[in-house]
């Protein structure tokens, strides 16, 4: 009784390292579709880098490509990348970087993203990888394109390339006061150049378009309702599908009667093995048809919230523990000899991503080729799933990802895509499947629950000497401490999860930071030191120190004294190249034990900032999203059933939960840009927990910290939200 564990992002990266490009696909059609102009392709293989100037009219591209870029005769630039836009604003920030290096107006760039027939193979959009990896790749191509165009102009004019400059989509010859547009330079020809990563990228200090607050690309389509999300796609002759769900996880079907559903006008019931679904001419009928099916299931007894944490500790994955991954010195000895010691257990619950747009897909079969429009962070992963499910070759499946109603790590898989494809195949017509909210809550996957055991020892003067961190099931992300401790044991213990679990924005970084930064706070109190001072004393990393200090200054740390009604807390850390420090102010009602977060100040450093406005939006959003997991979000389950699969029962952060949010950006133009979609989430929970402690003296070690009600059989929560 163990659910399939979704590949973690780290795992996927390993599996997929060797794959780039659209191997196996015949790209000739795609290339024919591109008009005349210049096509720049980026490859990692240096052998292929010498193809400068060859026409792309008749031949295939090298297979190992990670991106390409086309400049048309009219000067329009099209950039192709397998990354997807889900609200994190990369459609804008990537285009800014291309505009910067190519020296063209931002508006001339169109990004084609996440379409398996048009864009290079890509592992997926997660792990804050787009900015550090795809950004430099696209910039490299843009630099190569600009250099090639300048060489062409130099040849045309018989001047030295070095005497030319470029700006605004033109090559300029200042000495002879003449210019030529990029489009003109390529006119009538189909040119292709394959390049590898460029060394000569424009340093961030000289950025003019990148680094600025360019408004979101196609923003107008989002305020007019014109943007088509996956669930908005419509195809000629399209029908609507719905799927019969089991009564619980691991259920066995005992009996099935579909006759009432089949009597409904235009309804077809599709049964293939365990899959039972319907297609109908309209969505309303599809819903009615699926509820008219009489099915009886047997659901076996399964774990519930009660006893979950003991279950996770006692059920290692594969039946064994692999031992610690990280050991320095002797933690046991140092702990024994420490003046100040603290050993505690922290827990995090399963939570749901609950993207506002649930899983959705439209599938269409034409002459044996399957096209699916669906919301996913891994269009190529979903293509693989479809290939497997229907025994198809890569060229027989196309997955298109219209910018979707987000995912937060929750849309790595292609369930709806497979369902729609199955139904469309049976119906012989395009079919749309949109999951209901309760399907999304039940049949997607969750952020892993986990138990974290922390053990710390320090000298009387507050110097850390021993550190042990054991994470059961929730994950290894950011498990290592950024603090200076000579003796460490750090271990992630994979467990059998009773619920299906997978990626979530920030992965286990949130859980590990919650445990570590709460524990650091307790240690500071034990040493009778200011929590910030205690951290700085044990910290060497200058970037982390800087964000701690920046947040503290803006917040007024040190001036603000906690009272029983008002508490102030601080926490921070580093993950995926992002440095974060978060200060929180909470208001406590001493009688009702009601807590409200009033103000959050977050300082952030991810190297050179590509778009400060988009970045602030992401960071504030992460803080607000973090409130849910910190205070009240929690999946309730028992015997294979989710007990709160509705927004009425699963509380989400709302307007009234939102504090004043202040973001302090440390813009390091001297450092490469790291991603920022995830790590902004990790400081909030411990900062809030530490603020609650500062006000009330109550140390909360469970996430969520302040649910409205206790679990059956457990004491009522000490603090409520």
């Amino acid at each position: 009784m163990s659910y399939r564990v979704e590949p973690t992002e780290d795992g996927m990266r390993k599996l997929s390292q060797e794959r780039t490009g659209m191997s196996g696909l015949d790209r000739r059609d795609f290339l024919k579709g591109l008009g005349a102009g210049l096509l720049i392709c980026l490859t990692r293989a240096s052998a292929a880098a010498q193809e400068s100037g060859r026409t792309f009219g008749g031949h295939e591209l090298p297979k190992e490509l990670s991106a390409w870029l086309h400049i048309a005769a009219d000067g329009r630039v099209t950039v192709f990348t397998g990354k997807v836009e889900v609200g994190q604003n990369i459609r804008t920030s990537l285009a800014q970087q291309v505009a910067e290096e190519l020296k063209v107006p931002f508006e001339t760039i169109t990004m084609v993203m996440g379409d398996t027939d048009l864009t290079p193979w890509d592992m997926g959009t997660f792990g804050s990888r787009t900015t550090p990896t795809m950004g430099p790749q696209l910039r490299s191509m843009a630099v190569a394109a600009r250099e090639m165009l300048m060489e062409m102009a130099a040849q045309r004019w018989h001047v030295a390339t070095a005497s030319l400059t470029s700006a605004d989509g033109k090559v300029i010859d200042p000495q002879h006061a003449r210019s030529v547009t990029y489009g003109e330079l390529t006119r009538g020809e189909k040119l292709v150049k394959t390049v590898t990563a460029s060394e000569s990228l424009t340093p961030p200090k000289e950025w003019k378009v990148a680094g600025t607050a360019v408004p979101k690309a196609e923003g107008r389509d989002f305020v007019t309702g014109r943007h088509k999300y996956p669930s908005d796609i419509s195809r000629p002759g399209m029908m609507f599908g719905a799927v019969l769900r089991a009564d619980g996880f691991n259920a066995t079907l005992e009996s099935l009667d579909t006759s009432a559903a089949e009597k409904l006008a235009g309804v077809k019931v599709v049964r293939e093995g365990e899959f039972i679904g319907v297609v109908a001419p309209d969505a309303f009928t599809a819903e009615n048809a699926v509820s008219a099916i009489q099915a009886k299931w047997t659901v076996p007894a399964q774990p519930s919230n009660q006893g979950l944490f003991a279950y996770l500790k006692n059920n290692p994955e594969g039946g064994r523990d692999d031992g610690p991954q990280h050991v320095t010195g002797s933690a046991a000895q140092a702990f024994a000899g420490a003046d100040l010691k603290l050993e505690e257990e922290y827990t995090v619950a399963y939570i749901a991503h609950a993207p506002l747009e649930p899983r959705a897909a439209v599938a269409e079969w034409v002459d044996g080729k399957l096209t699916v429009w669906t919301g996913t962070q891994r269009p190529f992963g979903v293509r693989d799933e479809l290939m497997q499910a229907f025994q198809l070759s890569p060229s027989q499946v196309r997955v298109i990802q219209p910018d979707m109603g987000s995912g937060y790590g929750g849309k790595h898989t292609g369930e709806a895509a497979i369902e729609a494809a199955r139904l469309a195949k049976a119906a012989g017509r395009p079919v749309k499947v949109v999951w209901t909210r309760s399907e999304e809550f039940t049949w997607a996957y969750f952020r892993p629950a986990g138990v974290i055991e922390m053990k710390a020892g320090a000298r009387r003067d507050g110097t850390l000497v021993a550190w042990e961190h054991h994470n059961y099931n929730s994950g290894p992300a950011a498990i290592e401490t950024p603090y200076r401790v000579a003796n460490q044991v750090i271990q992630y213990h994979a467990a059998k999860s009773p619920l299906r679990q997978g990626s979530y924005r920030g992965l286990a970084s949130t859980a590990n930071h919650f445990a570590r930064e709460s524990h650091m706070d307790s240690m500071a109190h034990l040493a009778k030191m200011d929590p910030l001072e205690f951290r700085l004393k044990n910290l060497d990393d200058p970037r982390l120190k800087e964000v701690f200090q920046a947040a503290a200054v803006r917040f007024g740390w040190g001036r603000l004294k906690s009272t029983p009604e008002r508490g102030f807390g601080i926490a921070g850390g580093v993950d995926k190249g992002g440095y974060v420090a978060t200060c929180a102010e909470v208001e406590m009602d001493a009688t009702t034990r009601q807590v409200r977060i009033r103000r959050v100040v977050q300082a952030w450093d991810c190297g050179a900032v590509v778009n400060p406005d988009g970045l602030r939006n992401q960071l504030a959003g992460a803080i607000v999203q973090g409130i849910g997991g910190a205070l009240f979000e929690r999946i309730l389950f028992a015997d294979g059933r989710i007990l709160n699969p509705h927004f009425a029962q699963y509380r989400l952060p709302r307007f009234s939960d939102t504090p004043v949010v202040e973001i302090v950006l440390v813009d390091r133009r001297d450092l490469p840009s790291a991603g920022a979609g995830e790590t902004g989430l990790v400081g909030l929970a411990p900062a809030v927990g530490n603020a609650i402690f500062a006000a009330s003296g109550t140390r909360l070690r469970t996430m969520p910290m302040a649910p409205r009600n206790g679990l059956p059989g457990e004491p009522e929560p000490m603090v409520r939200s």
Partner: protein, 168 residues
Amino acid sequence: MGWLGLEFGMGDFVLDVNGAPLSVSCSPDETLLSVLRNRLNLTGTKYGCGEGKCAACTVLMDGQATRSCLTTVDSVGKAKIVTIEGLERNGRLSAVQEAFLEEGAFQCGYCTSGMILGATSLLHEHPHPTDSQIVEAMEGHVCRCGTYPRIVEAVKRASRSQTQGVGR
């Protein structure tokens, strides 16, 4: 609810949507949300929960913000329905749309239609809402991307620009 007791009986309805009479043939029990999205292809109105708890499906009915997922098509009657597609006039955005764009008050944008219509209805009733009036009126709206602070700013900006006669 119910139509002569025939659960799946069909009826013909003429809805006044964005100023145009649109006819549909469907069950009287079908929700306005489903009719707009799946029969009239007005997909700017979104499904988020289907139970009145997220307001992604908000439309205006006679100027009032209404959850279209809780509204059956036969209860609409002659009410004038405005969806997100109906706010733009001759290529000009409404003051609220403009304000959301200016503030960058969205990330994935999936909640935005509902937010804009909720705010439009609020500003109709209270042209100069206080912060707490904004929070109270918008509390039913979920932005899972957590864009609330900017949305509050956008509502205030729209309120100011209406006063100055900018936008509509």
